[in-house]
């Protein structure tokens, strides 16, 4: 069957949808939802017809979630707010839209600012509040990072619907094994250099977590300084930063077919948020973070910008496609797992989120 790649690009001023037959030449369509910040995008490939989901925030008209079943030709939003807090808070922004496991069609998770979790059972149109996380006794001590206080990473277990792992800035990693009723902090080994106790139970500024569906006990994590792996389902973490030029960054991505292959975009320090030496380089490890290699074929050597936590992704193709976008509005794609890179788009607004899929054309 003929196929094509779809790349959803969320920016500070709207969403673009790029399509390609060969993942080298791209057709760019947009902006959709112009003048909205699109911090979260998702492509749900579980339905017969793929669904695009976008968390959009208008400075004037507030936050919302829009869905499209025709790759952005038309969009749909419910009359009532799709995500709403019950009483003691109001939604500032949707930071993450994460389709659930294959065994739970229709389930979509949403992470928000302020830090909370919502769950949809209608494919991402409307969402229910997860009270257990909101009522966690740690919540009053969760702080706001530079970008705000938000749940930005959601990893539903691929084989157990009652297990979900989330990460927030600041606060760290939390896990539930009872469908969200109760949550426990899961940050043992993750450093918070900015706190008096550098290894607290919670309060870490975790930037991103990722997991491969074939190995649910293993997680990868990009921290606010620190790159980690867990081999026990997130209970404990150990550093895998050796071999990287720096341990700061935002993105952490797992190869779609190889659970030990991961991608990262190092940034100098939290005080100098540029790639080392201003060179645009993606780092890849094929052995779960034990060793790393720089990937730069086709990438610029003068790149004084950064890649945000959700602005790197893979597609489902074989070989895998890898994608990232920058705060300077450049988007790059690799059709061969990172070995070679091609420019998809340039001079867009700040890229905040990208997601890609290979679908039937």
């Amino acid at each position: 069957m003929a196929s094509k790649a779809v790349l959803a690009i969320g920016t500070r001023k709207g969403l673009w949808v790029a399509t390609s037959e060969d993942r080298v030449s791209w057709h760019l369509d947009g902006p959709h939802h112009p003048m909205t910040g699109v911090y979260a995008v998702a492509i749900d490939t579980r339905p017969a017809v793929p669904r695009l989901l976008a968390g959009v925030t208008s400075e004037h008209w507030g936050p919302s979630v829009a869905t499209s079943d025709d790759l952005g030709v038309t969009w749909d939003e419910p009359d009532h707010a799709p995500i709403a807090f019950p009483a003691d808070a109001s939604l500032e922004r949707v930071w993450q839209l994460q389709p659930g496991s294959v065994s739970q069609p229709g389930v979509v998770w949403a992470g928000t600012e302020p830090s909370a979790l919502f769950r949809s059972t209608d494919g991402g149109r409307t969402y229910s509040f997860i009270e257990g996380l909101w009522k966690h006794p740690h919540r009053t001590e969760w702080g706001a990072g530079f970008g705000g206080q938000a749940v930005h990473s959601i990893v539903p277990s691929p084989d157990d619907p009652s297990r979900v792992t989330v990460a927030m800035s600041t606060g760290g990693v939390y896990r539930t094994s009872d469908g969200g009723a109760s949550w426990e902090a899961s940050n043992t080994g993750i450093k918070a250099y900015f706190m008096p106790d550098p290894y607290p139970e919670f309060g870490q500024c975790v930037h991103k977590i990722a997991q491969h569906a074939s190995n649910p006990s293993r997680f990868y994590l990009q921290n606010h300084h620190g790159v980690y792996r867990s081999d026990d389902g997130g209970v404990t973490w150990k550093s895998i930063a050796d071999g990287l030029p720096t341990d700061f960054g935002f993105a952490m991505v797992v190869h779609p077919h190889e659970p030990d292959t991961i991608y990262n975009f190092p940034i100098e320090t939290d005080g100098r948020r540029f790639p080392p030496e201003g060179k645009c380089r993606v780092y890849r490890s094929r052995d779960a973070g034990n060793t790393w290699e720089a990937l730069g074929s086709g990438l610029p050597d003068s790149f004084w910008t950064a890649v945000m936590r959700d602005a790197m992704c893979t597609d489902s193709g074989s070989p895998a496609g890898i994608y990232f976008g920058s705060r300077s509005g450049s988007v790059y794609a690799s059709p061969d797992e990172g070995d070679h890179w091609h420019l998809v788009a340039d001079n867009l607004p700040d890229v905040l989120s990208v997601r890609a899929a290979v679908i039937a054309s």
């Binding site: 400075e59 004037h60 939003e77 807090f85 009483a87 109001s90």
Partner: protein, 94 residues
């Protein structure tokens, strides 16, 4: 009592294209109670004007007979019979 609400062009798709809505509301009325009355009929409009706690969105201005409500009493601003409430997006963004 009846008041009028003027809807900016960018929001008219949420109210069937109308530029002006006549709203019946119990007296004594406030800006908040007028918006409550609107919300029951036009929820898609309401969520662009107010958050889920009925807070007025920061960059939406509500002129009550020509005076922006935040220079009056915000959502608690009294509304007289026959009043005209004009909704306008403020200058924001970059």
């Amino acid at each position: 009592m009846r008041v009028s609400v003027l809807v900016p062009g960018v929001l008219r798709t949420a109210v069937g294209g109308a530029s002006r809505l006549d709203v019946d509301v119990a007296a004594p009325a406030t800006l908040g109670s007028v918006l409550d009355s609107l919300a029951s009929q036009y929820p898609a409009l309401d969520r662009k004007l107010r958050d889920e706690r009925a807070g007025l969105r920061r960059y939406v201005n509500f002129y009550v007979d020509g005076e922006e409500c935040r220079r009056l009493d915000g959502a608690a601003t009294p509304i007289n019979p026959g009043a005209e409430i004009q909704i306008l997006p403020s200058v924001a963004g970059g």
